[in-house]
Amino acid sequence: MVSRLAISWTMIGCLSVIGYLSIFGSNFIDVFAQEAEDIIVRRVAIWDLFYQGMVAAFVVGSLVQGTLIYIYWRFRESNPKNRPRTEKKEA
């Protein structure tokens, strides 16, 4: 059986890869271009990177916060679907 530690690491690894690809897979290196022939407006490139970072943060954030809200709603003790087994049997 897969250990719970391994499950935790796998989930976190997947989220990290999504975030990493969203940010670093883009124009991160362009921002620091040192060669004379590279004509870039760093201010524009940095804000571009910022918005990409925000998109990644909101994607991952909505996944995590959405899961949290679902858990709070689904597994609250007042949810009729979430009665203890003994109570269900009696009902």
């Binding site: 250990s3 719970r4 530690l5 499950i7 935790s8 690491w9 989930m11 976190i12 690894g13 989220l15 990290s16 975030g19 940010i23 991160f28 921002v31 620091f32 760093r42 490139a45 940095i46 804000w47 990177l49 910022f50 970072g53 925000m54 943060a57 991952v60 954030g61 995590v64 916060q65 899961t67 949290l68 858990i71 709070y72 597994f75 609250r76 003790e77 979430n82 203890p84």
Partner: protein, 509 residues
């Protein structure tokens, strides 16, 4: 079970006690007192920023004095002592020992705090809580800055004494039949925090001595005219205070590990991943200090190293969040006040962490550096995650400490106001930063965007302030006249509650 307040005792008996629960109580009461004092200063700051121009604070210097004492007070007199207080209360019980390893040293460590607090509050320095040179060495007026330096020094010594005591209590006084990997995760959080304090604090202690001798003019460590370098102070400072961020955070995370399984009626999803994440954070915390200094002219390579070092903390932090989510999944969650604060802290933990990832990336850091974004980010972490986590645990411990129940309805109102207020004030501050408002300013440009956002932040701050006044009134009233708590199951969970002492093996002497 030990009930400290329920037993009528003369106050001096608690004040001069060396018993761990008495010291824990003193830490907790004093830290909550300092929270309210520091909070009052925050209200003054936000009231001043309601509109551009001078409002209620006479001068920019006074404004600087207020935010210096506010910052120092909240970090070193609220968050840190509260963690120590809860640690004092619970660690000996959790490791099955009759007291802390050195009870008298424990009392000495506590009683240093009021002395240091008096020095900081009487001095009312204007250096900022970072006390960066050259201002702090060349221009900051004494004795205010000198009192701040000595106050910070005493607080550092107190922290180290407390940390040594915790490490020895956990590692040497732990019951021989209790393996480390069976200790509650809160004990792990205090162990890791204490080890971090022991490693990190001496650097700042040395920096403070250098700062003081620079102020006296007998050395020039940070004075360029004497061959020194002000940036060297920043390295020494952040080598201590970036790990200190985790020192503030990790005890709160440990407290969430106590409340979340309890109120979800489920065991922790993965104890091992919790321990692993604590240890990783303890190590990685030392690999990222210079990310506070990207704008000081560091080389690309240096910045890359510290950027990667900082990002390495993300998986460890995410492990905690995943562990909490997986623990709650499939449980029967009771949303009593401690759990409400815990889930609020988790939600804001992710939001503040995302802001931190933005700061960490060096190109983006140049957009946000020294802007209100930074203020919003670290306040969202320290107030949104850490303080809400600590406050929830205060409600959780309240029946244990007093034998009485707090008023649940008012506690829930407290949570609702604090949670909404924190979002209003600190998310808005992120936006203020992106609109170009610099931090630590007494006045700002009279533009409609800045004015409206500052007013939203001020309303949020007062909402948080009112919520904490409600908490204090609720606790004071409930400690005297509250309903006696059912000590077997005060939160009506349908299970035994304060079972620390009943667990095997028994407490040993």
């Amino acid at each position: 079970m030990v009930l400290e307040v329920k037993k009528p005792r003369p106050i001096w008996e608690i004040l001069f006690s060396t018993h761990h629960t008495d010291i824990g109580l003193l830490y907790i009461v004093s830290s909550v007192t300092f929270l309210m004092m520091g909070g009052a200063l925050a209200m003054a700051l936000r009231a001043e920023l309601w509109l551009p121009g001078a409002q209620i604070i006479p001068s920019a210097t006074d404004f600087h004095r207020i935010f210096t004492v506010h910052g120092t007070n909240m970090l070193f007199l609220w968050i840190l002592p509260f963690g120590s207080g809860v640690g004092n209360y619970l660690i000996p019980i959790m490791v099955r020992y009759h007291d802390m390893a050195w009870p008298k040293l424990n009392a000495v460590a506590f009683w240093m705090i009021p002395v240091a607090a008096a020095m900081i509050w009487i001095g009312f320095s204007d250096t900022g809580w970072t006390a960066y040179p050259p201002y702090s060495t060349l221009r900051a007026p004494g004795p205010a800055a000198d009192l701040w330096i000595f106050g910070a020094k005493i607080l550092g010594i107190s922290s180290v004494l407390g940390a040594v005591n915790f490490v020895v209590t956990i590692l040497k006084c732990k019951h021989p039949d209790l393996p480390l990997m069976k200790m509650p995760l809160f004990s792990w959080s205090i162990l890791i925090t204490s080890l971090m304090i022991i490693v990190a604090t001496p650097t700042f202690a040395a920096a403070l001595i250098m700062l003081y001798t620079d102020r006296l003019g007998i050395s020039g460590f940070f004075n360029p005219e004497m061959g020194g370098d002000p940036i060297a102070y920043q390295h020494l400072f952040w080598f201590t205070f970036h790990p200190e961020v985790y020192i503030f955070l990790i005890p709160a995370v440990g407290m969430l590990y106590e409340t979340i399984p309890k109120f979800s009626r489920k065991p922790i999803f993965s104890y091992q991943s919790g321990v692993t994440a604590f240890v990783l954070l303890g190590i990685i915390g030392f690999a990222s200090w210079a990310h506070h200094m990207f704008a000081t002219g560091m080389s690309f390579t240096e910045k890359t190293v510290f950027m990667v070092g900082t990002l390495a903390a993300v998986p460890a932090s995410a492990m905690h969040v995943f562990n909490w989510l997986a623990t709650m999944w499939g449980g029967r969650i009771k949303f009593a006040a401690p759990m409400l604060f815990a889930v609020g802290a988790i939600m804001l933990f992710f939001a503040s962490g995302a802001g931190g990832v933005v700061n960490t990336q060096m190109p983006l850091d140049f957009i946000t550096h020294d802007s209100y974004w930074v203020v919003g980010h670290f306040h969202l972490m320290l107030m949104g995650t850490v303080s809400l986590g600590l406050t929830g645990f205060l409600y959780y411990l309240f029946p244990l400490m007093t034998g009485r129940m707090y008023n649940e309805k008012w506690a829930k109102i407290h949570f609702a106001l604090a949670f909404v207020g924190v979002i209003f004030v600190f998310i808005t501050q992120h936006l203020l930063g992106l609109y170009g408002m610099p931090r630590r300013v007494y006045d700002y440009i009279d533009s409609p965007e800045l004015v409206i956002m500052n007013q939203i932040a001020t309303i949020g701050a007062f909402t948080v302030g009112i919520s904490y006044v409600i908490m204090v009134i609720n606790m004071l009233r409930s400690a005297g006249k509250g309903k006696p708590a059912d000590m077997e199951d005060p939160f009506k969970m349908g299970e035994e509650y304060y079972d620390y002492r009943r667990r095997e093996p028994p407490v040993h002497q």
